[in-house]
Symmetry: C2
Subunit: 479 residues, 2 copies
């Protein structure tokens, strides 16, 4: 009890006081993750792991529905293999961990711990792909990868992180492009429908695209503080990797061709996005689809006869319609309320002697603390309705935050004003030149998030250089 | 078609001719795994990964039923942390891969790629465990680990392998021992019930136990060639690691105590056990519980009107009772038969114009090629019955193989005779001395597999030294 009491009085930092501190307070207080003695690496605790498993199950189901198969690739990449695609190695070599010794022996060739696995998949494709009949090959793997980051924050940027990486090869460029789009759509659906995070779908500029890709698609979410979080990316490689790794197949014309390739990934970063999109000063707010417990039953005056029996019966009934926990520990109800608010459980169900007498219970939605008096004999049908209400409610709040923080820049003056006064998304036209993109970074501190698929015509010229505009870009500061 | 035809005529090596070659032929021909350019590391292909996912789902379900929670730990262990428990580091340091550089910088302290994660869990337990109320902590993780093996074979011994490792801490030694036993029982249940592999449960001798453990329990299976395969282990650590890592909790008596610890693991090796327990000269034979497809429908004369429609209808109906595939590719039925036998699909369902006319289909059980004529309107109820028949049938074959290859050694003469003439298990009494265990290794080439929980009294003396016997041991040659 001593620890529990201590925990109860210790509040978390308010997000308005220090957003970064608020974030790490939640990570720690909601038991999501802990630091380890390994530089930049985190321990994902049971509650954080359960969230990741739920995300994983949703995504894995979507991947399999569209014909993807999982594989398990080695965690090491020989230095020579990493170097086969020039742009790729330039992008990743500076941030990989190198294995130089096995046991007491020095290795003849260094191995890097995979930062991403294009090279390994390409090597494998070259071995197993021989005919157009083998195509498409639609592979995915769930694993952790390692990028030697200088400064790290749990979930957002860690030296090791968990993710899935899909790698596919196709007969035609059109099919590969369709795959790239389909998988981005899959990430967008996960974010919007299940995680209640509104995202902007678009294409990365050449400067921001993946090392070695011809084209990178992205979904960009806005966090509560107005900063952007790149939440999932899907890359189209053309046949560049296939050429570098000599992947060929005999086509319908009986000639040798190179297949067209894609890769796409989503990582444990998305847990950071969930925290920073939905959380508040009382803790985490979890989207119902991935909450380890969607509802928690807190018995009131649980020592009184009949209360625990009724709570147990309610739990058994609800277990058929949602992931439910019943907390009959001897902590006070007030402590439990605070604990499950911290953990972001979407629904709290209070059940006391009076409620039982009246054949009802009180259901409180976490995100707005709204009380719903629900008849016990209607509870199974009401809980799914309330869970949907939570999803819709938190989506709406996130969408409003994004809309309130999205501005348009028609001139350098407006851009600089935005940069000085606001934190959010800035939409401008753009000429397409790297020079202007660099200027945005240097003068306004903004990076291009994406060129949205849904374009708007904000004017004819690039406000940075005054030349004719080619496309609309969303800019922001990013995690 | 060219590739397919080639594949069809290319037989695999017979297991009687060359068991090792037969094994690797199956791994390759059944599309389970492939070699990679990373020394000793394999690529697990979609079919092998699907088998592992099924095993994982079964085990994960059992773990969660008994209150275990998954976590995700770092893949690296700082050298200093690995060294904290003396026996443990001695056991593992010679076979780990060392990371010495991050990007272009040399690390101040080397990191090893985890060969197992006791040290990481202990460090975490020390941080999160403070009161007896926090106990037990029942953690598990699914990951890959790395042991720098000199000679490797797919699944059986690879530099990297996938596994789960459970790590738990408990208030009392009794609870930790009960956990150690419970988890071994869980592995035994997986093997016997689901994988149809009979196992002997027992305790490892001190020589063979896990580095740092007080006691190691094991399940030992016999492969088709008589060699043993250690299929899962469960370790009791007492409070040795807790003391080394300073894990303490405030007990009910308000004093500080060290918790008692366990760990337990099962790996992708078990796929090797499945191959070598059930496979035959036609390929893999998969236990239904983990087969990616439990039944495959092969339409006969599929160009004839009505056949594919009937096959599709059958598939839709069977999808409700099993994992079913329908192969309407333009390969010949004979090719398909060979292909799905190679892949070990438990049931093949043949459906041609005549069958449709007669309202039946032919179901062939993979392991014995028995034909069952099943009425189409009884198919949903018959398939589960036939799948159970397969499980029972292959279990029985494996059990008989083990019984036929299990012998008793009452004297050194009988032991040497067994060693010269047989490949299998040898049961003897044993005095408990390391010297006799070493002599068995040196003179008879046998290692102790375990001291079975089910003891038999084969005599009063150790046949190796003639001194009083303490226990019965099962010996063998092991993978």
């Amino acid at each position: 009890m001593a620890d529990n009491k201590k925990k109860m009085v210790e509040d978390i930092t308010s997000m308005d006081v220090d957003f970064a501190k608020w974030y790490t307070d939640i990570v720690r207080k909601a038991d999501l993750a802990d630091y380890s003695s390994v530089r930049g690496c985190m321990v994902v605790r049971p509650y954080g792991t359960a969230i990741w498993e739920n995300i994983r199950n949703l995504l894995d189901g979507m991947f399999k529905e569209t014909g993807h198969e999982n594989v398990m690739m080695p965690m090491f990449i020989p230095e020579g293999l990493l170097q086969k695609e020039k742009d790729h190695v330039e992008g990743f070599a500076p941030e990989v961990a190198w294995v130089t010794h096995g046991g007491s022996e020095k290795l003849a060739e260094r191995l890097c711990v995979r930062p991403t696995s294009e090279t390994l998949f390409c090597e494998h494709f070259a071995k197993v792909c021989s005919s157009y009949r083998d195509l498409p090959m639609l592979y995915n793997q769930w694993c952790s990868v390692c990028r030697w980051e200088k400064t790290t924050r749990p979930f957002l940027r860690t030296a090791e992180f968990w993710w899935q990486e899909g790698h596919t090869i196709h007969e035609t460029a059109e099919e590969a492009m369709a795959e790239t789009e389909q998988q981005l759509e899959c990430y967008a659906r996960l974010c919007e429908e299940y995680l209640a995070i509104p995202v902007i779908k678009g294409q990365k500029t050449d400067k921001e695209k993946f090392a070695g890709a011809e084209r990178t698609y992205t979904i960009e979410a806005m966090m509560h503080d107005g900063k952007a979080l790149q939440s999932g990316t899907s890359h189209y490689f053309g046949d560049g990797f296939a050429k570098a790794f000599d992947i060929t197949y005999t086509g319908r014309d009986n000639k040798l061709h190179h297949p067209h390739e894609t890769s796409w990934g989503m990582s444990t970063r998305i847990i950071g996005a969930i925290i920073m999109t939905h959380g508040d000063d009382n803790g985490l707010v979890l989207p119902p689809a991935i909450a380890p417990w969607q509802a928690v039953i807190v018995p009131i005056a649980q020592h009184k006869p009949g209360v625990l029996d009724a709570a147990n019966e309610l739990k058994a009934r609800l277990a058929k319609v949602c992931r439910v926990k019943m907390d009959d520990s001897d902590n006070a109800p007030g402590w439990k309320f605070a604990e499950y608010e911290m953990k972001g459980v979407p629904l709290r169900i209070e059940l006391g002697p009076k409620d039982i007498e009246n054949g009802q219970c009180v259901v409180v939605t976490r995100h707005n603390r709204e009380k719903h008096f629900v008849k016990l004999d209607e509870i199974e049908s009401m809980i799914p309705v309330l869970l949907q209400k939570v999803r819709d409610g938190i989506y709406q709040i996130a969408l409003e935050n994004r809309e309130n923080r999205t501005f348009v820049g028609h001139s350098m003056e407006e851009i600089m004003k935005f940069s000085a006064e606001q934190s959010g998304f800035l939409k401008t036209m753009w000429c397409g030149e790297l020079e202007c993109e660099m200027k945005m970074k240097e003068e306004a501190g903004l990076t291009s998030r994406c060129m949205p698929f849904e374009q708007e015509n904000l004017g004819d010229v690039c406000p940075i250089c005054g030349k004719p505009a080619k496309t609309m870009v969303v800019w922001g500061k990013a995690y």
